[in-house]
Symmetry: C2
Subunit: 408 residues, 2 copies
């Protein structure tokens, strides 16, 4: 891992104050899996009856803990559940040894916490291809179990970081039937971030009561417009996992409740944006709004073509309103476009329309806009009602430094 | 355009000695379209009966000259033909003005050279979205026509450069029926280079006689395994064009001749590799050999996923044998892969097999290999007979400097 200590200029001022979620307790520890002098393992234990939904990377080379989680999601929800995450080592592409590590860790967590092994979910994040020193984790399980606390979610957010420069958290509270329901989530992710394959490591907790299959449906649908709409570098991790846990401790059934769904969506978008704001080397946060496409799916293809274009990402880094490169990305995306119906804007500035530069366009005005830290690139295809919004960051020397100049 | 003057470390020692192709004459001029103090327009005039085949970008926002060429390819081949190329301005996304520029230039070339306008092909390369100052080109046409010479192909290669750091040429001579047939080609390209959409600007000439439809079939098929197998930055130009012109001046009919096809393939691969060697900021030339895939198409998907991965390209730049990132790219590509049947090698060094690091793997040995300037990444999927080879370069601070630090 690169030893980058400078916090992203796009980071929030501080970690947000997250509500305690009844029915979840956290503990963290310095197990020394790979990093020294920081916490690197977190354990969360969830009360009996908690519904657990998950989405995972679709990578064909996904890691052993991912495969194990996928097998377990959707099983019986009666008893308690547990989540154990280590940073520093991804336990990915480690063959049978990797499966053995997952088996050892999940069984040991089950033994120490009293959770059935079928309800123990694990994630590993860090270097690919090296065996996981799981004995170091096992040695800390008693200490972890003894330290569980409802108020330690920020510690958990810190323990799962790899090249992240800040811990990521978000929350929402909504009234349902006169009662307060809370949602709190944490995430890690900075590089190897690409959409359409689930996401980084994300854990979201709520005290709402939602039946598992309804929770899973809600999660899968919202992932498509949040985590699946961000990209840092077009590269997809072997370990991406998102778990959503509904403890039901509030006693409020939120199944099918749109207020709850909207609040959850807000938390997921907030965490997804924080991952982009911590994109390796990022200095600009870019929202790409595509409208007028023949379908939502086509709009997303255009949005991602723009968001993943190295030439656009470097132009943004250079504060260059290089709209010709936006035309290029739309052209190459493969989705429907008509050069002469296209319009492009930077913020409120109309740059191009009807197949050429707008008569009102001022290069000086656009160049001034590009100096901002939060940018919006708008594209209207002029073909239909399809729309999609995608988020990304710029491509800077910082990305090269993190991934080339240092030995990972 | 960035004013990068340092020649790529991967450049050939010198421009190659190219054979004169009977039936083609070249001229170049300083028209001052955008650049000052260098040639920026080239004219080639081809003898009557020359067959002209072409492949072009599939970009949905392709430039006016590309659309004009596509309409003309495959028409009558009786009379002479002409090719006019300017650098500095791509005449792309310039609306009706762009079409008017193409009409003005092609008609003026026809008037000056006596070539029918249906046989005048033009290309423009450079900035997107600015009107082409075509009057500057028209003003030089008499001078160009008066300076035509069979021995000026190197001058032509220089006149079409944009961010290129060296002119690109390649040739072959083969014996057919006891007679010598020659092929010579030139290319430009350095950034906005991605495959599957034809290529940069490339012009290849031969004195062989090949009927137009046969020439077109040969060109299209060979493009798939040469120019469509290279990538610098995954971004596809709006102006990519490749024209192949067979003058027939040797009197040798090479239609269906495999010796000729192989020689042409060698010239195309050589030019394609030179484009990668001049990739913006490139310091390493990387060949990615994928075998054992379920199909050739799947092998190419894997190869391009590896070649376009920013994490792999930065690892190569950092001389880091980070094979875990190769696993990641295979996993994300979408093509068939089985983690536990995969093997990966760097040069002759077997890195991983059977889903984990090879027992013979030495990190020191691999790190020493990565210090080389010419690298081979081998991937065997262990699934079938599908194979593909793809070429790319590394992603360095130089790419960011060219595309972000300078104003284009």
């Amino acid at each position: 891992m690169a030893t980058i200590t400078k916090v992203s200029p796009l980071a929030p001022a501080a970690f947000p104050k997250l509500p305690v979620i009844d029915g979840v307790r956290f503990a963290t520890v310095e197990a020394g899996v790979r990093y020294q002098g920081r916490t690197d393992v977190m354990l969360a234990v969830l009360q009996p009856g908690t519904s657990v939904a998950g989405v995972f990377t679709r990578s064909a080379t996904r890691a052993a803990p991912v495969l194990d989680c996928q097998e377990k999601i959707g099983g019986a929800s009666d008893g308690p559940a547990a989540i154990l995450v280590n940073s520093g080592n991804a336990n990915a592409f480690t063959g049978h040894y990797g499966q053995a590590s997952v088996a050892a860790v999940t069984q040991a967590v089950a033994d120490v916490t009293g959770v059935a092994v079928e309800r123990v979910f694990t994630s590993s994040t860090g270097v690919i291809g090296e065996p996981l020193a799981h004995d170091r984790i096992l040695a800390q399980l008693d200490a972890l179990n003894g330290a569980l606390s409802g108020d330690a979610i920020e510690d958990a957010a810190r323990a799962i970081m790899t090249t992240d420069t800040f811990p990521k958290g978000a929350s929402a509270q909504v009234e349902i039937d006169g009662q307060t329901v809370s949602i709190a989530g944490i995430a890690k992710g900075s590089g190897m971030i690409a959409p359409d394959m689930a996401t980084m490591l994300v854990y979201i907790f709520t005290d709402a009561k939602v039946e598992q299959s309804a929770l899973q449906a809600m999660l899968s649908s919202q992932t498509d417009t949040s985590f699946n709409c961000i990209t840092v570098d077009s590269d997809t991790s072997t370990s991406d996992s998102l778990l959503l846990c509904a403890t039901g401790a509030s006693g409020v059934d939120a199944t099918g409740n749109t207020t709850f769904a909207d609040a959850l969506n807000g938390v997921m978008l907030d965490l997804a944006h924080q991952v982009v704001r911590d994109g390796e080397g990022a200095t600009k946060f870019v929202e790409i709004r595509v409208t007028g496409a023949t379908s939502d799916a086509d709009a997303k293809v255009h949005g991602l073509a723009i968001a993943n274009s190295p030439l656009i990402k470097t132009a943004v880094a250079g504060e260059d309103p290089n709209w010709g490169r936006v035309v290029m990305a739309i052209g190459k995306s493969g989705a429907a476009a008509d050069r002469d119906k296209l319009s492009i804007s930077f913020g409120d500035i109309l740059v191009a329309e009807n197949g050429w530069v707008s008569p009102t366009y001022s290069e000086d005005e656009a160049a001034a806009y590009m100096k901002g830290q939060e940018l919006v690139i708008g594209v209207d295809l002029g073909l239909g009602d399809g729309r999609s919004t995608v988020w990304t960051c710029d491509l800077t020397h910082g990305y090269i430094e993190i991934n080339a100049d240092y030995r990972s």
